[in-house]
Point group: none
Chain length 132, copies 4
């Protein structure tokens, strides 16, 4: 199972709504089951540096099938995955990346959001992930 | 002047329509005046390798404010821009990248399309670029 | 549909047999539908430089769902896809990469072979692709 | 002395068995004395992001002829090798990479395993390394 463009566009639309609702400007990326970009949107005035971060968050969430923040907890100095970020051409391991599941609970892709605090990024990502 | 996300989404919607009309499956990328990605869509079943190509075409068109095919004519062996593709982390210089202008004729971004013949790619890119 | 490791290992086994049959030493790579490596084998004494080439051939064949040699014909100087090799972190567009299809004719991955003449590389890749 | 493909395939087979025994899904990479990939297998359903990590673990173990976890202890903040991960196009320095020795005790390659906890990764890597 793989995410469709129609699903990805719905996810981005919902994530944008949530972003506006909490008064933020986000970069929003959706990747498929192969961790390849399917859809992307950068809201007007969103941080430029968050473009790459949002894509890397989405990839990271799919690479390991978990929220990016969980990996970040494990990759701290002294933690079991310290410096895992050096793999895969660069991971982003703070919150804002969330796997996307279909109705059967299978992971079909992931969303990555960047542009505000990591709490806000995660809130918007989760809203998007739950849109389908 | 810079392209807005609303304009970029309109451009992608029109490019998708044109792509369906001519029976192709495209990767479609829109960059802003700073050559940074604003919006992207990969149609279901579109070539995976065209993802990167569509983004590079959009960037290339904005980097030099001209259709990518024109640069390709100049970058042939013996030509004045031979192997310019080695710059900017990789250019794509065959057709499918087109600058986007506002009503005043100012360049505000560019569209890159990849997924079929270069003729079809250009047709879809041009349809998108003319959507606003 | 995606290739399984068991299928990929069968493909590599058959490709190795064919390679021995025609007296060559090959690097053999198999990627899945997402163009990510599933299985790889470098035969003893095979060219070291062919390691990366075999993987890039497999990726290229899946990126565009066609034999790599076809892309190479189109990417010559003056051709419509000149210098397409600058995309996707480097393509290899001479023969030796072949898509892998399941019984239903769907592309589920690709094989890339490198270590001899491009004719031999293609022969071994095709033998592998037909193994399932 | 250098590892043979036959040895590498034996190592991967044993590592797969161990992985199944402890109910994990692993990416398993074997490199030779030159730190170049000899054989690789990604088990069905294994984390996609562990592909690159398993290869980097194998390379790291051979680059320094020691278990990757030992390097990780030295590369912590304040440690003598802090941020050594920035070298060699990216090292992975947590457990899961183990040198491979021949009967005479000479290092002939290394194995890298990724897909579960670092303890499990190391267990599978060690099982593989001891297979020859």
């Amino acid at each position: 199972m793989n995410i469709t463009l129609k699903q990805a566009e719905k996810i981005i639309a919902v994530a944008k709504e949530k972003s506006i609702e909490i008064d933020t400007k986000m970069n929003i990326a959706v990747v498929d089951a192969g961790a390849n970009l399917v859809a992307f949107a950068r809201m007007d005035g969103a941080w430029l540096g968050s473009l790459d971060i949002s894509i890397k968050k989405a990839k990271t969430a799919r690479y390991f099938d978990m929220n990016t923040g969980i990996i970040g907890e494990l990759s701290q100095p002294g933690g079991p995955l310290f410096n895992i970020e050096h793999s895969n051409n660069g991971l982003i391991t703070f919150p804002g990346g969330v796997p996307i599941k279909n109705a059967a609970g299978e992971i079909i892709g992931a969303i990555g959001v960047s542009g505000s605090s990591v709490e806000n990024d995660h809130t918007v990502a989760e809203a998007g992930a739950l849109a389908i």
